[in-house]
Symmetry: C2
Subunit: 510 residues, 2 copies
Amino acid sequence: MTMEVTLQKFKELLGEVMDAQATVALLQWDEEVNMPPKGAPARGRQLATLSKWVHRTFTSEEMGRYIEELLDARDRLEPDDAVLVAETHHDYQRQRKLPPDFIERFAEARSHAYQAWVEARETSDFSVFLPHLETLVALLRQKADYIGYEDAAYDALLAGYERGMTTRRLKSLFADLGPRQSALLHRILNASHPQDFAWLRQEWNEEAQWAVTLHMLRDMGYDFDAGRQDRSVHPFTTNFDVHDVRITTRTHPRELFSAITGSLHEGGHALYEQGFLEKDRRTLLAQAPSLGIHESQSRLWENTIGRSLPFWKHYAPLLRAHFPGQLDDVSPEAIFRAVNRVRPSLIRVEADECTYNLHIILRFEIETALIEGVMQPAEVPDAWNARMKALLDIDVPNDAHGCLQDIHWSHGEMGYFASYALGNLYAAQLFEKMLEDIPGLWNHVEHAQFQPVLTWLREKVHHVGRRKRAAEIIREVTGREPGAEAFLRYLEQKFFPLYGIPTTEAGIGA
Amino acid sequence: MTMEVTLQKFKELLGEVMDAQATVALLQWDEEVNMPPKGAPARGRQLATLSKWVHRTFTSEEMGRYIEELLDARDRLEPDDAVLVAETHHDYQRQRKLPPDFIERFAEARSHAYQAWVEARETSDFSVFLPHLETLVALLRQKADYIGYEDAAYDALLAGYERGMTTRRLKSLFADLGPRQSALLHRILNASHPQDFAWLRQEWNEEAQWAVTLHMLRDMGYDFDAGRQDRSVHPFTTNFDVHDVRITTRTHPRELFSAITGSLHEGGHALYEQGFLEKDRRTLLAQAPSLGIHESQSRLWENTIGRSLPFWKHYAPLLRAHFPGQLDDVSPEAIFRAVNRVRPSLIRVEADECTYNLHIILRFEIETALIEGVMQPAEVPDAWNARMKALLDIDVPNDAHGCLQDIHWSHGEMGYFASYALGNLYAAQLFEKMLEDIPGLWNHVEHAQFQPVLTWLREKVHHVGRRKRAAEIIREVTGREPGAEAFLRYLEQKFFPLYGIPTTEAGIGA
């Protein structure tokens, strides 16, 4: 075969894999959004079959031959094709390293662990989950061995979510970030500040909440001809194509801001996925290089922009119009304070910007200790509770509100959490640079003119797809290594004025 | 391999095919119900890939080996397993007969023909569609040759929808049915009868229409924990499992009954699919033996029950409650007359029970003449218009309202339409027997007690799945061959009293 024919056959086979992967995503989306309850067992089988077919085709000898031939001819490939082949080679090798019987054992262990976790959390009984956690940790260590690593076994797991990042680097990053963010938090908690959140305790019409989220998503630039918003228990974003990117959110009558912040968050993810290049469709290039970069997009829209004062100067009237009589005396500043209330809490997904990373650091410490074998699964509850006390000064009343709160471990996922913290750090670094590049950015935000923000993100991040690694993007866009400085500056400049603490620099977004 | 191991491997492979086929159905359902418009091109590719994977796996050498081994061991198989192997063998052979390059050429021709048909119908210009119809007819004749037939090429096409039925049998059936139904129609049209349908010309709240359909579906026994109703342009039923059977309907503010009759129709299909046996899941046995039998279920609920006077004696108050002030002076009898208005019309999908089969007979005559080569595609419009005049005494103003109205031919589907008429005939035969078997059936209907009807259908039809052919079911349940007598009796007994025409027997449902 000529190189051209091989390239075409390679792209067609990869395209089929991507088609089938999009179909898996549709099966999952439908499961969360539409599926009647009795459909669950059949859906489980459909997902298992399709995942198996995807894996078999992607790791096939045929795919291997194409990759090999194209790697040999890499000097004659167009740059985009060369990157595509290299990226596919990377994923191909990673997936081929796991023997089919290991994948099967792992899937079975996950399935049992998930069911045990559901029961353990309901009854707050860690002992129900413990044997499964032991099995999963053993399997994860085995997985790391299959994949291979230079320095730490945990590196092999990290690579599945945050490629290029190392355990050593994260340990040093979090060793710096943890104490500094904790100190900053305690300055805020010790500050005296106005505390009038009584107006939040009202009933908020859920249809009105929904309408507000749609309005904001449209303003952000989310294309409803290439997406839709639905309701689900846990908000998420998924895509079946660059022109079919769907988000979900949830409304609650007692929570004014949970649907809004949820939609802004998922909207940030969705704008990223709607922003991949059309020419990258059906290839691995229309993907984020890491979960951390993906999360930087959601955090930037939800937190940096969506919890800023200029944002609420614009949207306070919209809220008032949708909740007539309920917000007449509530100023944009009051909303700004409400959406930035700092309150250490037990639950990660409810954490504010000042405490969130501390929840992550705790999980990272436990995960690495488990994989390194210096902590046993049975020790997790005590370790969890001790670190919650140290980092957030909170007593954990039971394991359901402690080490059993997250679904991730029951799914056999370790190495995932760090990406959430990295998302915060990346977002702050990107935003600092954006502020330099876009004159009058906050003025644009105050008029809901988000096009400059979106255009900047499209150019610097979205269009890149998987052509570069996360660290490379941050380095090239900001001129700095990924790090904690920008995020800590951001917290200080936003929260110190809010809580009446003197700061030397002008506040950002305040 | 022992026979047991082969059987298990066979069922697992077939199960995977069924899982993937359910996934294809989900891709299609989502396309009609949820997909944002820009998602269409990607969806087309996903459907093509998944269909290809399904076909490849189902027609694989591996599947062939299992079938062969199990056929050799058929005497030692459980009866259900023996039927399953035989049915799978049937489909396997049929699909293997078409060479892959033919399937590809056919798919391409269909795709072009569909696009041409959309344009031809919009502009009512048959010449745009003609070359594509010529290509498709040639390909369909070739398909018939690949599949093979004894008597008529059209038999090979029929077998894809109405297995066991022959062209010869249908010709003789329709030669009898056509003139008799036409004569019956003309007696009705010549009768003088009350014509007060002015009350229908109101605006009907669409949410209220929706609520009425949900109420009726629940009463029928449709399990909303194993299904759901959504909106789509063209109502349809689909299933991803016996416990995930979904229907769609459409509301229109000027049409009181289109959503209701649509939901009853799809609800009939859905009750059938929710009624397949759980043990048949993931096999070909959880399927209808023919489209005609499937259609008999929808027609029975929509027409025989849903357009009966007892039905409306029960539901008239529900309608009044949902449309306050709009139906105060409208009696159940007036509704009964309205949903049974006989009015020859141009469009098949809007046809009443007295004219519907005539639309089908016209199409059957043209299709068989095309496949037999005694009519050329260019002659279709004239033939269509002449038969519309003869059968329904209607002048066709243009081809968009004539031979271009149906999507089927543009999809390369011939042999399909007869099933719609057979559905009417089967429904009438089944219902006659049901009336004998269930004492006080109409009294049950008048109290919306549909359990006896559903139980009867479950036992006689639904639970059978694909274990028997259509004709076998009709024969075993009713003691008669499939035929037109019961349907003609049904029409006469229902419509003659409605239109003041003397009849010798007591009216059914009137």
